[in-house]
């Protein structure tokens, strides 16, 4: 019984955090957010070198062949540093989709290019993922028509993968004919979403899954765990900053962290946030190792993290006083990241309802 990260996972985390602390000071993050492209070639190259792009790609396709838990460890670090750019969809969901729904030839074609960082696939859903917005495409056997909003990892995407209503994913190149893609300048300017209208766009459909809906569910749940892990990292960053601020800031002749008003607020947040890490770890582990618990854990992790971390985001901002509300501290990058993750792949309300269905507490 070892409920803990392995040494390898700790090393992955440490090296990733070192890299990000070095390459992504606040000014750089702010500049990238101002650009709003959600992609930085220099940072991307560094992440490729770190092996992030190949984490979820099998070794035989040029990746590291790691598990969802490894990917979650990386996601938490990316959230902790509010990293601009693609991850959950392009580097976890898309490779998993190829493995669960692609033929060997399709995997051979796409996975090595994902691992090398050459191809970045944004992922969207034509319904069923618990998101608002346009979500309808028709596939005529060759081409795709329709519109999907809220496509994740739009920044720097070369392709888009859309899950059809029947559970099969279709891949379309963003520079293909019949594709009109808008990078949405959103609340979180470090990770823009895509809004794509298809008008007879050539698509590659992955049809190798025996049960395409179940395969889609696996990808959705893996995505939920990644968002939960990212939110965890972001909330932890905010809490760490608030604690540090409370130890330095003096008001009324005292360090503000010595006031129970501030101290108890931070204690409450730490009390609700710390157990979240174990929930995220378990949910990630379950995706690979405990199929019977995987669904419930992913849904509850997404729902619980979204709710706990929204409170962390609000109250850590409040602890910073006026400075928390300015752009100067940059706290808002994390605030917006947490809020954005919440709206993707199902809000807490939606995830909890699905958790009830999964457990047979209520019929769908």
């Amino acid at each position: 019984m070892e409920f803990a990260l392995t040494d390898e996972q700790r090393m992955l985390e440490a090296s990733l955090r070192d890299l990000l602390a070095d390459r992504l000071p606040m000014e750089r993050r702010r500049a990238l957010a101002a650009e709003g492209r959600g992609h930085d070639q220099q940072l991307w190259k560094a992440l490729v070198e770190q092996g992030i792009t190949g984490l979820a790609v099998p070794e035989r396709h040029g990746g590291a062949g790691l598990h969802v838990l490894d990917a979650a460890v990386a996601a938490e670090s990316l959230g902790y540093h509010a990293v601009p750019g693609a991850y959950a969809a392009s580097l976890v969901m898309a490779p998993l989709a190829l493995q669960t729904s692609g033929t060997e030839a399709q995997q051979q074609e796409w996975l090595p290019r994902i691992a090398s960082g050459e191809v970045r696939i944004a992922v969207g859903f034509a319904g069923g993922a618990g998101q608002t917005g346009a979500a309808k495409v028709d596939y005529d056997g060759k081409t795709l028509s329709g519109r999907v909003q809220g496509i994740i990892d739009g920044g720097g995407a070369t392709h888009v993968m859309i899950y059809l209503a029947d559970g099969r994913p279709a891949i379309v190149a963003l520079d293909a004919k019949g594709v009109k893609a808008s990078l949405i300048q959103g609340l979180d300017r470090t990770r823009p979403l895509l809004d794509v209208t298809f008008d007879g766009a050539a698509a590659v459909v992955l049809s190798a899954a025996n049960d395409p809906v179940a395969a889609r569910t696996r990808v959705l749940d893996a995505g939920r765990v990644m968002l939960a892990a990212d939110t965890l990292g972001a909330a932890q960053a905010m809490l760490d900053r608030a604690v540090a601020f409370a130890k330095e800031r003096v008001q009324f002749g005292r360090v503000i962290g010595s006031f129970q008003g501030v101290k108890h607020t931070l204690a409450d947040l730490a009390t609700s946030l710390e157990p979240c890490r174990a929930l995220v770890w378990f949910a990630a582990h379950a995706q690979d190792a405990l199929p019977e618990e995987a669904r419930l854990a992913a849904l509850q992790a997404k729902a619980h993290l979204d709710d706990v971390c929204r409170e962390v985001a609000r109250l850590t901002t409040e602890v910073h006083g006026g400075m928390g509300f300015t752009d100067l501290q940059g706290l808002h990058f994390w605030w917006k990241r947490i809020d954005t993750n919440r709206q993707l792949l199902g809000t807490p309300e939606r995830c909890r309802h699905e958790a009830a269905v999964v457990q047979g507490w209520v019929s769908a």
């Binding site: 979500a135 605030w335 309300e349």
Partner: protein, 404 residues
């Protein structure tokens, strides 16, 4: 309990309606945030003042309408103006905070000089209280003014001066008696913003917009008589001003209309083909907030009645802002969740910020965080509620010296 208006107020109601019917087309569009009043707004302001729908209780000699305070009259006027969706008049810190301060502690000369142009919108004021090092601990202000050749010479920095970039004047809290204890060393000066040595830099907030400023003072010189009350009285005057800030009611009408907007949003937004109002987990959140909003609304009516009777509402009044801000935040959070992924599009920079529904809700949601922080943090508000409202003892004085 009688929730109808008596004859007197129904007459006023009719008058206001007639005024709006006749002049309403001259009104600028309500809302639009903090900006210098347009010529159209100034003209409309003149009309309101002339009819007593603004400055109704300010003495005639200072440009007001000179009637005694009757909060029900004010409520009737506000209600009709809100219903007709016309511009309620210019609202800024000069009008809501500085003018009542002058009326309470200013000299006759100061009142004569400043009130009329301020309420007419011709002179815009900004507030110089907070400093980077003293957000909630205002009395720790470090900006200094020393007297040289019959002038105050001011050096230092203020933050959160919301309208500084287009203001004509600032009421400034600064340290003039550095040798005296913390609270006795401050003065309340009136500073023309065009004075050489003042630099205003925009302060971008988490919304991405620059609605606030930092203001820097380098050897800024003003005459020594540009002061309210005397040297060392600044803390007293500032507290008079803050009292009026806290008297600004957390607006229950705003919560009611916000609730209605969220409800309507939930009725037309769909998630995976289902109307969000039909998803019980969302609906329950709305219903919980409806309970809160109803309680706030009727509490506001209760306060209005007490105010009309000249009763001291004590605790009941102290809780309003804190309570209302939190409910407002929870409402905007629900709206943000209802909008969901499709509502994440956000562009606060251009016109869209005013007209795009999703952007507007997100701005509101973040601004609500700012409101919890601004005007005394939540912790300070809870201290005030606990100490002044419930009579609990203050925190024992810290041994360490003041400052910081």
């Amino acid at each position: 309990m009688d929730l109808s208006y008596s004859e007197k107020y129904r007459t006023l109601q009719e008058e206001v309606r007639a005024f709006i019917a006749k002049h309403g087309h001259l009104s600028p569009k309500p809302g639009g945030g903090r900006q210098k009043p347009s010529p159209k707004a100034l003209e409309w302001q003149g009309l309101l003042l002339e009819h007593g729908y603004f400055g109704r209780n300010i003495p005639k000699q200072y440009g007001g309408f000179g009637l005694p305070l009757d909060v029900l009259e004010l409520a009737v006027i506000a209600e009709e103006i809100s219903k007709a969706n016309v511009y309620p008049g210019i609202m800024n810190q000069g009008i809501s905070m500085f003018v009542p301060t002058l009326l309470e502690v200013g000299t006759k000369e100061q009142c004569e000089r400043w009130i009329r142009p301020t309420i007419r919108g011709e002179v815009i004021w900004c507030q110089g209280y907070s400093e980077p090092g003293s957000g909630s601990d205002l009395a720790a202000a470090k900006t200094r003014a020393v007297v040289e050749n019959g002038q105050f010479v001011i050096n230092g920095q203020k933050i959160w001066t919301s309208s500084a970039h287009y203001s004509d004047m600032m009421f400034l809290l600064c340290r003039t008696e550095p040798d005296k204890p913390k609270h006795q060393g401050l003065s309340y000066l009136l500073v023309p913003m065009k004075t050489p040595g003042i630099e205003v830099r925009p302060l971008v907030t988490m919304t991405g917009r620059a609605t606030f400023n930092e203001t820097f003072f380098t050897d800024v010189r003003i005459p020594v008589d540009q002061i309210v009350m005397g040297r060392g009285d600044g803390w007293h005057v500032a507290n008079v001003t803050l009292k009026y800030e806290r008297l600004l009611l957390g607006d229950a009408n705003k919560l009611t209309s916000r609730l209605a907007r969220v409800r309507e949003l939930m009725e037309r937004t769909t998630l995976d083909g289902q109307r969000i109002m039909d998803i019980p987990e969302y609906r329950d959140r709305l219903l919980r907030l409806q309970g809160e909003v109803m309680a706030s609304k009727y509490h506001g009516m209760r306060l209005l009645t007490e105010q009309a009777r000249g009763e001291d509402s004590g605790l009941k009044r102290l809780i309003v802002k804190y309570n209302g801000t939190l409910i407002g935040y929870r409402l905007s959070s629900l709206a943000v969740d209802v909008l969901g992924a499709a509502g994440l599009a956000y562009d606060a920079k251009d016109e869209a910020a005013e007209t795009d529904e999703a952007t507007a809700w997100h701005i509101d949601n973040m601004y609500d965080i700012g409101l919890m922080i601004g005007g005394g943090s939540t912790n300070i508000q809870k201290n005030i509620i606990g100490e002044r409202g419930l009579g609990l003892p203050r925190e024992p004085k810290a041994a360490a010296p003041a400052g910081g």
